[in-house]
Subunit: 210 residues, 3 copies
Amino acid sequence: MTSLQSLALNAMNLAGVAAFGVNGALTALRSARLDLAGALILGSVTALGGGTIRDVIMGHLPPTTFVDWRYLLAAGLGSLVAFWLGRHLVRYLRILEVADALGLSLFCATGAQIALQGHLGAVQAVLLGVVSATGGGLARDVLVRQVPTAFSEGLYLTPAALGAALTVAAEAAHVAAPWPLVVGALGALTLRLLAVKFRWNAPRARFGPS
Amino acid sequence: MTSLQSLALNAMNLAGVAAFGVNGALTALRSARLDLAGALILGSVTALGGGTIRDVIMGHLPPTTFVDWRYLLAAGLGSLVAFWLGRHLVRYLRILEVADALGLSLFCATGAQIALQGHLGAVQAVLLGVVSATGGGLARDVLVRQVPTAFSEGLYLTPAALGAALTVAAEAAHVAAPWPLVVGALGALTLRLLAVKFRWNAPRARFGPS
Amino acid sequence: MTSLQSLALNAMNLAGVAAFGVNGALTALRSARLDLAGALILGSVTALGGGTIRDVIMGHLPPTTFVDWRYLLAAGLGSLVAFWLGRHLVRYLRILEVADALGLSLFCATGAQIALQGHLGAVQAVLLGVVSATGGGLARDVLVRQVPTAFSEGLYLTPAALGAALTVAAEAAHVAAPWPLVVGALGALTLRLLAVKFRWNAPRARFGPS
């Protein structure tokens, strides 16, 4: 990657981490009475969890999310913002939903590309993109004992899978360097925002708990 | 291993993954309203979770379950079968219990042997066998917020430990190549099926929540 | 490290593992009806979970907690003691709280030092100390479906962070070998015991579920 591309990628990635940090701490604060330390931990778990699982799977240890202090700073600042400004931020849920969609979109594209760089196949790359994008939110929901939003709240996994698949397809077509990431992230973002706006759902099973 | 042995092992392993995939997706569908993507993810987590944890512990990264597309395919097909045929399969719970017991038995034996190949001790090999066999089901139960079946439903951990111990003992006695696996898997399978049929339980603590 | 220092560290570490094992199995037995195998697994998860996560993050695979049979033995014995003597131990909750505080204190200090030995930065070392000290209890609470004590019960994360920070500061000041660990562990222990005695809490968010 050129240094300009790398800079853009890092900036977008850090924005995603911060957005997930705010979102994670706020979601946690709304479902459990937490103190400052708990909000910091849960915000950081949401922000860094997906990337950490991705790096463990790829054998990149210690994980980038852990070694690079900028990720820790972005996650921590995001959590602190949620803790101190939470009462006011709750009004702007739409902003948070967009931020969450942005984090989801960025991580599914970067996760897929990291898998391809590690010589995994196309299906594995899509899977790793989905894991990177949704792993942090899953860990947060497990810790505060909620049914994972990824399973219950409209289209969430599908946009991540679409974005990762677009990145993989663009890489397979030898599209030049930043564009596979951009195409993947934009595809995921578009589908996620449309799904939120029009309350789309994936097909449900014809049976289940009633 | 000879190629015939390796072939048999792989075939049995993949059958176990597919069985766990069906079982995982069905169990998840019965306790939470899931869409297609959620059923796929939860079936795959159940099918691949134990092997992934095993490979992370052994430092085999990226995990085999993630690199080998046949595992992904078996897990995905198993989940899809559960999603589309779920209403009909629920009648054949006995078939699913046998399939689950088969997966449990195969994974405890292969997990123990992989630990021995990595030069871990006998106790560690038994433990890794149990983790491989039960890790996927634990992860599934945590995600759908059930008390893990492994802790509450008759003898489940014990057959896995027995199977892993038999494999370790046979390896220690220098039994020829496929037999340690076969003996371990058959031992675990027998104990698990007997425990299901006669509703055996491990001794319980004399206190607890009432 | 000299062999005397290494001996002291190992002895303290193993005592911490055993204490966490008793504590974990007891906590699990009080919130779910478990059989012998379940108590063993949950006690061991509590005792070894934090160290295992720490070693996975650092890329020390297979994890020390898994390779070194003394850790397994200490965790297993602790769990068995809780299973058989549980009814009597429940009376001595104060002893268990001290044991838990001891485990917390030892692991935050050793976790931080292991991170520094792996050339991570100061913030990362504090974070790894907290993860080592609290990871096992978090995993236990998730498996028995409790709100993690770390988030709800007084000052718990803060003493771990303080201990890890003291160890990092002492290392930065080139204090001689066992003292960074001792200072960190004593600092964490003091704050945790004071917090238990005087029911101190970290500041809470001004909103949350009511």
